[in-house]
């Protein structure tokens, strides 16, 4: 009584060897590349957990013998940046105050821009779009000084709001392109159906387009949060020491020339500064990939 049929020759799934040449090459390469990227991070974390005497012994790859969190505390609340010695915490809150409004304002404006460009073909839309995209290719440095004058004349030079405005403006070309391409990829008939149903410009935007656009909003948010958080140039040019963003403060801590170089504090400060974009990526990485695929393919 057996139901098993016996076949002659090849049958069923083709057997695969785990240690085939292909697998060794593929995974070998992947592991090497991963190590190459992870190693510096490892050194940073390990060093930030060591005391200065241990660091002076020179074994940068060795794990800490005596784990201490003191460098982290010091980087956050005691390290000196220029005049004040209250650590990175001040810069962190400055960066939050700069990033949050910049991200919200730039995404709001850019999404409406993209929606108008994709669906409401107004006169001169192509010219407008071309100029906007052209803006993405001009190096920021060229516009630094004119922007200083502009901000001064508006009376917001050196304020948080000045910097927020600068970030919002400079995010516009790439974000508008992103949103326009995404909205273009949505079926045009949906837009037509909504118009027949009597929805206007804002009605269609809020009730039809927005609910379908979560992925692209996440992409835009990640791009802007990391871009603005990591920005150094605008931060140092358009603000004053009291409201320096975290990146500028980090630079001041690491590059301070007085006293002993506290490598462990520097490492901890650097990790702290990079933490926000990292968290953002980990939390929304999957949506990011989906949104990039949805928005970037067409157009």
């Amino acid at each position: 009584m057996t139901d098993v049929t016996h076949f002659e020759g090849a049958h069923g799934p083709k057997p695969r060897r785990v240690f085939s040449r292909r697998n060794i090459f593929l995974y070998g390469t992947l592991i090497m590349v991963a190590l190459y990227y992870v190693l510096p991070l490892y050194v940073m974390i390990v060093t930030s957990l060591k005391g200065m005497p241990e660091i002076r012994m020179g074994n940068i790859f060795a794990p800490p013998v005596d784990i201490t969190f003191e460098p982290w505390v010091k980087a956050w609340s005691q390290a000196c940046t220029g005049l004040n010695c209250d650590g990175l915490s001040r810069g962190f809150w400055n960066s939050v105050q700069i990033t949050v409004p910049s991200v919200i304002v730039s995404i709001l404006i850019a999404s409406v821009n993209g929606y108008a460009l994709a669906n409401w073909r107004f006169k001169g839309a192509d010219v407008f779009f071309t100029i906007l995209i052209f803006g993405a290719f001009i190096p920021y440095q060229i516009m630094l000084y004119p922007m200083v004058i502009l901000l001064r004349e508006m009376g917001i030079y050196g304020t948080l709001w000045g910097l927020v405005m600068v970030h919002s403006i400079f995010g516009m070309p790439i974000l508008t392109l992103l949103f326009r391409n995404y909205f273009t990829s949505l079926p045009e008939e949906l837009f037509k159906a909504a118009r027949v149903d009597g929805a206007g410009f804002w009605g269609i935007y809020f009730q039809i387009m927005l609910p379908m656009s979560l992925p692209i909003f996440v992409v835009a948010m990640i791009l802007q949060v990391t871009g603005i958080w990591n920005d150094f140039l605008f931060g140092v040019v358009y603000t004053k020491p009291d409201i320096y963003p975290m990146t500028v403060q980090l630079n001041n801590i690491v590059n301070s020339v007085q006293g002993v170089k506290e490598y462990n504090v520097n490492m901890a400060a650097t990790i702290l500064t990079g933490l926000v974009p990292l968290v953002i990526y980990f939390v929304s990485g999957r949506l990011f990939v989906r949104g990039i695929a949805a928005g970037a393919v067409k157009g």
Binding site: E189, A193, R195, V196, D197
Partner: protein, 357 residues
Amino acid sequence: MTSSVEIKNLNLSFGAVEVLKNLNLSIAEGEFLVLLGSSGCGKSTLLNCIAGLLDITAGQIFIKGQNVTWAEPSERGIGMVFQSYALYPQMTVEGNMSFGLKNAKVPKAEIKERVAHAADVLQIEPLLDRKPSALSGGQRQRVAIGRALVRDVDVFLFDEPLSNLDAKLRADLRVELKQLHARLQNTMIYVTHDQVEAMTLADRIAIMKDGLIQQLASPAEIYSRPANLYVADFIGSPAMNLLDGQINNGNFEAGEISIPLGGYEFSREARGGALLGIRPEHVIVGGNADTADISLDVTAEVVEALGSDTLVLTSVNATRFWLRISGQSQVATGDALRIGFNASDASLFDKADEKRL
């Protein structure tokens, strides 16, 4: 007869490309008009113009006597059904159907009532709480029709609504659409490239090509008296057989064939080069062939048995000549056949301007 939709001297150009050329069309109250044509002929464009989704270059559009040339789509008293259904994916079926009413600020109780009524008519009550993604293609298209239905409009516009469905469902929904029209008695304008849909649904068909209406007539008229060569070739599958020849002294002569045209109704005086068209199903095969105006012998080259009927490819004067015969008849490749046809069943076209004679 009052006209429900009237289009006067409509022109539409995209830059230098003229998509619709000086188009005039008058659609009667309660009429089912089908715009038929191959892709790129301007039929969907015309529908979009009527809906107000495209700005026209010149001309006027009237709906129910109102000049709506500059009106917004929602102000025109139209409902539209799209090929891709275009249901709002984040709303339930009920939300989809009530969206237009909410925009029009209709009271809540009335919205509920109208949605319930439309759902009853289309038999989609069990689906009201579902999202479009949880519906099949046929159900989605029903909801899309329902969305137009609740708005209580004068004119329904259909843009190839059945093209995304499989063959069986398409046939089912086609019948339902016809019943719906019979019940509602609304004016309907229906765009399709499917001639079966056009023939079965339409009160009148407008066949379009290159932004011009080639013929506007009832399905029977278009089938039996095509206005020009394009229409003759477009309608019917397999297409009308065409013989190239001359008209001489009341006879059509092509090679050795000579057909007396006594039975043919001329619409204008004719002489010289002409094309004679005869539909495959109007060719008489077998014993009765000799009683027709002309009879000749042919050989079956290809036999396609479709079950209900059989198509036979032969050649006359070295051009392809299809016959449609009963599915019961036993014909094999290579068989000799005696065929004939009458001039009264044929269509004659002038060779120069390709118009009906």
